[in-house]
């Protein structure tokens, strides 16, 4: 019996060691992915001379690793999530204050309050009126991503429902062509799309990127939504209809609530797609007719003589934030998205 106890102890110890080793390994391979982002944030909050400094990066990494390490160690010790997170955060905060406390400042974010940042940087009249206030670009980006999301979610939901529930001539061809369309890189279409947009008269308007992005995204999202509809049992709908609902009422009251997760998921992806779009935004305007965040970021580093990397990084932080927040809050819906449809 004593032997058993020792074996159990050894097994527990082994399990903890393996888990620890695995965590260390995973942290190690995620460093190359995480470091650029950490660096960006550090430059945005600490750079004073507009250079891409590394001076604060190393202390920051030390702070983060110390926080993660103390979290991991506490978790392995206590096997409880909350105290471990608390310990990790406290360690990181304390160490951060000690190592980085004096370096942190918000100067690089002054573009958020100064409507005429270009004049401040390059002097009066250098690029008068060419460069907007960041919030104008921010609002345009929101309009572009938001409108595009609403259209994509509405159209792909309705189209996918029809494809999932009705049989009609050409249904299979349609489904296959949805997939084939994905095989062509959208960038190959830049010139024809530019010409079409020009002839239609939408060049230099926000409608152009909204419509083009919507059209490019629809095939894939229709396919995803079809998977969600396929997973909704047919007899639930039939049951609603014998209960007295019309087909449209059955769709609204019974079917749609069950594909809610899918709609949220494709909505998030469509929004982020529109938020980050650069090619079709920059390609469909000939001057500075409209600004969005991606073009704003590009011109901050391109147009300003003697690039202020501190400010570029700060703009980048502002640019990443909405997408990041969206991901964090909708993560549980995104993980339920597979090509096949819904889980459970």
């Amino acid at each position: 019996m004593a032997d058993w106890e020792r074996l159990a102890q050894r097994s527990t110890l082994g399990r903890r060691l393996r888990l620890g080793a695995l965590s260390v390994f995973l942290v190690a391979i995620s460093i190359p992915i995480a470091v650029p982002y950490i660096w960006m944030v550090m430059i945005a909050f600490t750079s004073r001379r507009g250079m891409a400094e590394t001076g604060t990066l190393w202390p920051a990494l030390v702070v983060i690793l110390a926080g993660l390490g103390s979290y991991g160690a506490t978790y392995l010790w206590l096997r409880r999530e909350r105290p471990a997170i608390a310990v990790g955060v406290i360690v990181a905060l304390l160490l951060g204050l000690i190592l980085l406390g004096q370096d942190l400042h918000l100067q690089n974010f002054r573009f958020m309050v100064n409507a005429n940042i270009i004049e401040e940087l390059d002097g009066q009249g250098t690029a008068g009126g060419q460069f907007p206030w960041v919030w104008e670009a921010f609002a345009n980006s929101l309009i572009l991503a938001g409108t595009q999301t609403v259209i994509v979610v509405t159209v792909s939901t309705l189209a996918a429902y029809y494809l999932s529930r009705f049989s009609f001539r050409g249904r299979n061809t349609f489904l296959q062509s949805l997939l084939v369309l994905q095989a062509f890189p959208a960038i190959t279409l830049v010139i024809p799309i530019f010409l079409i947009v020009f002839w239609v008269g939408l060049l230099n308007t926000l409608y152009a990127p909204i419509l083009v992005l919507t059209a490019l995204e629809l095939p894939f999202f229709i396919f995803i939504m079809k998977g969600f509809f396929d997973a909704v049992p047919w007899d639930i709908e039939m049951s609603a209809m014998t209960d007295g609902a019309s087909r449209r009422q059955a769709f609204w009251m019974v079917v749609l609530p069950q594909v809610r997760v899918g709609m949220i998921a494709i909505g998030v992806f469509a929004f982020i797609k529109g938020w980050e779009e650069y090619v079709f935004v920059n390609g469909l305007r000939t001057g500075d007719s409209y600004w969005v965040m991606s073009t704003y970021l590009y011109y901050v580093q391109e147009d300003v003589m003697g690039v202020d990397y501190g400010m570029v990084a700060a703009v980048a932080v502002l640019y990443v934030l909405p997408a990041l927040i969206l991901y964090v809050f909708c993560q549980k819906y995104l993980t339920q998205m597979t090509l096949g449809g819904v889980k459970g």
């Binding site: 007899d235 039939m238 049951s239 007295g244 609902a245 009251m253």
Partner: protein, 344 residues
């Protein structure tokens, strides 16, 4: 409550015939079971009654009025699906109330509680369908189907997803409720026990056609066709191809049917060698090799009387035999007695 008449009803999918020429009248308040193997067209018939499928030909009459083109939601039919088809996004109470949302019912709430009391789920009204057991879901589906006081209640294999003991309870429950409400009910099932225990009248279907209809006893004792003879009864009827040496039969007879309980061991008769023994509780089912092929016979008792390899003689009363002609139709009044030489 309604009388339902099907006149020369048929349904084809492209070239496949699902239901062919069904003629059937179901009286007001009657409980009819449609029994048949899967793919025999029984569910298609049910869905045509509900208004989910449009008949290819023939008429459906409710109280003498043709309803072929009337939409499902206007037929006032209640249906319970095999999967129960509860709406997962609604609570039990909302599920039961769902059909009343399309009618102007001032007493909907009171009625829902009355239905819940009848199916004994009053303490589950706030739960979600996913929190219920199969039997409870079944009761909710039944309450939902009955709340609008339907003309006709349709049950599509309602018990096949329940375990054996629950099935026994629900059989009695469903029968009690339909009798209490006096609602015309059609049950579709492939389980002969369900059909014979619950229904006033059993309709046996195969290949889209009605093979026979009548009381359960008629189908068991006087099957009109070879199919009914083989389908009804468990263990199934022994079917012996004719002619056989040692059997006195009319020349038209091509198959002899003999229920396992009609065969019994005797001092003389058909020589048999025991192959396999299955104790079934109150009875023992024995399979034996005879000059007529493998035959099964039932004996009362919990203990087997034989061992595999034993030899014995089997006999039967000529009045227990049923003869079928080349088309598989029963020859009324014909019997097959064992000839003297075999009795020796």
């Amino acid at each position: 409550m309604a009388q339902v008449t099907l006149k020369a009803l048929n349904k084809t999918w492209d070239d496949a015939v699902a239901v062919a020429d069904i003629n059937l009248t179901i009286e007001n308040g009657e409980f009819v079971a449609i029994l048949g193997p899967s793919g025999c067209g029984k569910s298609t018939t049910l869905f045509m009654l509900a208004g989910i499928y449009l008949p290819t030909g023939g008429d459906i009459l409710f109280d003498g009025v043709r309803v072929n083109e009337v939409e499902a939601r206007h037929r006032n039919v209640g249906i319970v699906f095999q999967s129960y088809a509860l709406y997962p996004n609604m609570s039990v109470l909302q599920n039961i109330l769902f059909p009343t949302r399309f009618q102007n019912l001032p007493d909907a709430q009171a009625r829902a509680r009355e239905m819940a009391a009848m199916v004994q789920i009053t303490d589950l009204l706030d739960r979600r369908p996913s929190q219920l057991s199969g039997g409870q879901q079944q009761r909710v589906a039944l309450a939902r189907a009955l709340i609008k006081r339907p003309n006709l209640l349709l049950l599509d294999e309602p018990l096949s997803n329940l375990d054996a003991t629950l099935r026994l309870t629900m059989r009695a429950e469903i029968r009690r409720i339909t009798r209490e409400l006096g609602v015309t009910t059609i049950l579709v099932t492939h389980d002969q026990l369900e059909a014979t225990t619950m229904a006033d009248r059993v309709v046996c279907m195969n290949g889209g056609r009605i093979e026979q209809m009548g009381q359960a006893e008629d189908l068991y004792l006087r099957p009109d066709t070879l199919f009914v003879a083989g389908f009804i009864g468990s263990p199934p009827m022994n079917l012996i191809p004719l002619p056989q040496p040692g059997l006195d039969v009319p020349s038209a007879a091509k198959t002899l049917g003999l229920r396992p309980e009609a065969l019994r061991p005797a001092a003389s008769g058909l020589p048999a060698e025991v192959i396999h023994i299955e104790p079934m509780g109150r009875e023992v089912l024995t399979t034996a090799e005879t000059p007529f092929g493998l035959l099964r016979f039932l004996e009362a008792g919990t203990q087997p009387n034989w061992q595999p390899g034993d030899t014995l003689h089997l006999t039967y009363a000529a009045s227990d035999t049923i003869l079928f002609d080349a088309d598989g139709t029963r020859i009324p009044g014909a019997t097959a007695a064992l000839k003297e030489q075999l009795r020796a």
